[in-house]
């Protein structure tokens, strides 16, 4: 058994009286792709925000490779090897696609404080950025501002930014949302490629069942901020509790 790379213990956040994520304890291992499912408003994205630091936990801890990162800023967590892509496209709109990716590469290389050397002198960074452009099939739009890309390409750039960070832990939040049918497989192939590297831990929020079936090693179900089920994909998908959640019975019960 490999030891877990990411652990959340009793992770909780309250917004006033509303508990958006309620005492979620879960461990994630390298080489494992975990899909997080749950109805809208279940707290999936909030759970992600707590792990990657966009939100501060009200209670509980997040540990990465034994280091408590609960109080760290998002940038410090990124430096620890935690990478996150966003559900709503979250790019640098006026910068070119290449510059977007180079920023992520450069953050990883720690070159952001180089003040007096022109960007062009860092050939290795540019080459790496170009590599990720190629991998994500964005080379042909490298010099377009990100804002000019069609939605599907923006989603790909979102994934490319995460890949260029070269983290240990990849967090994808509905990476194929709003993508056309012929583009989604590209992104799924990329995620499958990451999954093939057994040193990487992958967390994926996804609704599309065919995606879940194709990629998941494990499924966890969030509902009303609580961890409802955790286990083997086939088992979880067929369990009564998940059927209830998706059919809405559990919601009625809670209300």
């Amino acid at each position: 058994m490999t030891s877990p790379s990411l652990v959340t213990s009793d992770l909780t956040i309250r917004f006033g009286g509303h508990v958006a994520v309620n005492s979620v304890s879960c461990a994630f291992k390298p080489g494992e792709l975990t899909v997080i499912v749950g109805p809208n408003g279940a707290g999936k994205t909030t759970y992600f925000n707590l792990i990657s630091g966009q939100l501060a936990a009200s209670a509980g801890t997040v540990t990465k490779d034994g280091v408590n990162i609960t109080r760290m800023s998002p940038s410090a967590r990124a430096a620890q090897g935690l990478g996150r892509a966003f559900q709503l496209t979250n790019l640098f709109p006026q910068l070119s696609v290449l510059e977007n990716i180079r920023l992520a590469v450069q953050a990883r290389a720690g070159a952001g404080w180089r003040m007096f050397t022109p960007v062009g002198h860092f050939r290795r960074l540019t080459q790496k950025a170009e590599h990720y452009l190629e991998v994500t099939r964005l080379s042909n739009v490298a010099h377009q501002p990100a804002a000019n890309l069609p939605h599907g390409d923006q989603r790909k750039l979102e994934v490319a930014l995460l890949m260029a960070m070269e983290p240990d832990i990849y967090m994808f939040d509905e990476p194929t949302a709003g993508m056309s049918l012929d583009q989604a497989p590209d992104v799924l192939d990329l995620i499958a490629g990451i999954k093939a590297d057994t040193t990487k831990t992958v967390l994926l929020v996804e609704h599309k069942m065919e995606v879940v079936r194709a990629l998941a090693d494990r499924i966890i179900v969030l509902h009303n901020g609580e961890l409802l089920a955790d286990g083997d994909p086939a088992e979880v998908m067929n369990s009564q509790i998940v059927r209830d959640v998706y059919l809405g019975r559990a919601t009625e019960g809670a209300a």
Partner: protein, 360 residues
């Protein structure tokens, strides 16, 4: 798409060409425009290009709105002015004063930066406004040190005295080159020109570096910049300090050139508004915009009156027109020109030209 990229390049070359011409004109200004006032204007342009460009680092590149830029400009100017007054003319007070200005600017920039760069942009702007107001009041009140409202008059290094002869002929008279006396005034102008040039080129390096890209990333999407691993607060504080240091150095150079420093030449909010207008008219986030904005604005401030005087006389026979064009109404026309510029060049002149036409 290809045509768009093509126009982009044309616009960029056009702007760079104009900037090069401006640089050449400034380089030969003492020979091309041989009167005291023109040289005054040229020196002011040099210094304001640096001042506006350093402000562009904040507002255009990083998206930080600060009203304290004249404060840093003033620290540099007063540093040199006070020491030149106390120690007498020479290079030591200039250097020490410049360093003191930089040191005070850094202390203020770090303090304001760390205390308030975490808060929302509007609060940050208010805090800088408050700090700048306090310093302006202090400069007017501490008259024993700062000369109060009257400011300080002093002499610069001996090299820059008009009586200094840089090159003499056999009779001991100052040599003329193309009709220009090679005297201390000329040396003073080139001191201003080359320090400004060096500071501007340094800023060009900053914005072209990985650091500069991070600044743009923060402007574009602060949360994502943080998420991919950049400590946004640290970068914002750093660029705030950097811009403060450059503004302070520009202030020192201006103090040496003017041989006078007072609230009206360095600290006043009128100058802050000028800087804002210059960066908006020139185009934010381009560096070239600072050059174009500063040149246009200063030329308008100095020459629009004269131009209108001529125009008013030329149309003396026509009713009403001479009244409209009377030199006293120059501010009115300046205002109209600004409104038109902002309307037709929403991203500033350089910004609009470089992004391929006014339509976008």
């Amino acid at each position: 798409m290809t045509t768009q990229i093509a126009t982009q390049n044309t616009g960029t070359y056009l702007i760079k060409g104009i900037v090069l011409i401006i640089a050449a004109l400034l380089l030969f200004a003492p020979f091309l425009f041989q009167d005291v006032r023109s040289l005054e204007v040229a020196a002011r342009i040099c210094i304001f290009i640096v001042l506006v460009a350093s402000f562009d680092l904040l507002i255009g590149y990083t998206g930080i709105v600060s009203f304290a830029h004249t404060m840093f400009f003033g620290f540099g100017a007063y540093g040199a002015a006070i020491l030149l007054k106390e120690m007498g003319p020479g290079w030591t007070p200039v250097i020490l004063g410049g360093l003191a200005g930089v040191a005070v600017s850094l202390v203020f920039a770090v303090a304001i930066g760390l205390l308030s760069l975490r808060v929302k942009a509007i609060f940050f702007a208010m805090i800088t406004l408050a700090a700048a107001s306090v310093v302006l009041v202090l400069a007017s009140q501490l008259s024993q040190i700062t000369g109060g409202e009257d400011g300080i008059t002093y002499r610069g290094p001996d090299l820059f005295k008009t009586a200094t002869k840089l090159v003499t002929d056999d009779d001991g008279k100052v040599v003329r080159l193309w009709g220009v006396r090679l005297n201390g005034k000329l040396a003073a102008y080139y001191f201003v020109f080359f320090t400004s040039l060096i500071l501007f080129l340094a800023m060009l390096r900053f914005v072209g570096s990985p650091f500069g890209t991070v600044l743009k990333a923060i402007r574009e999407n602060e949360a994502r910049a943080e998420a991919i691993g950049y400590r946004v607060v640290a970068y914002r504080t750093a660029v705030f300090c950097l811009s403060a240091v450059v503004a302070s150095l520009a202030g020192t150079v201006y103090a040496v050139w003017l041989k006078y420093t007072g609230p009206a030449t360095t600290l006043s909010f009128a100058i802050m508004i000028d800087i804002l207008l210059m960066v908006v008219i020139g185009g934010m986030g381009t560096m070239w915009g600072a050059v174009i904005g500063a040149v246009l604005m200063i030329l308008a401030q100095y020459y629009l009156r004269d131009l209108m005087g001529v125009a008013s006389e030329a149309v003396a026979a026509v009713p009403i027109l001479p009244e409209l064009l009377a030199p006293d109404r120059w501010l009115f026309w300046l205002g109209i020109i600004f409104i038109l510029l902002v309307y037709f060049f929403p991203k500033g002149i350089a910004g609009t030209a470089m992004s391929g036409g006014a339509k976008q």
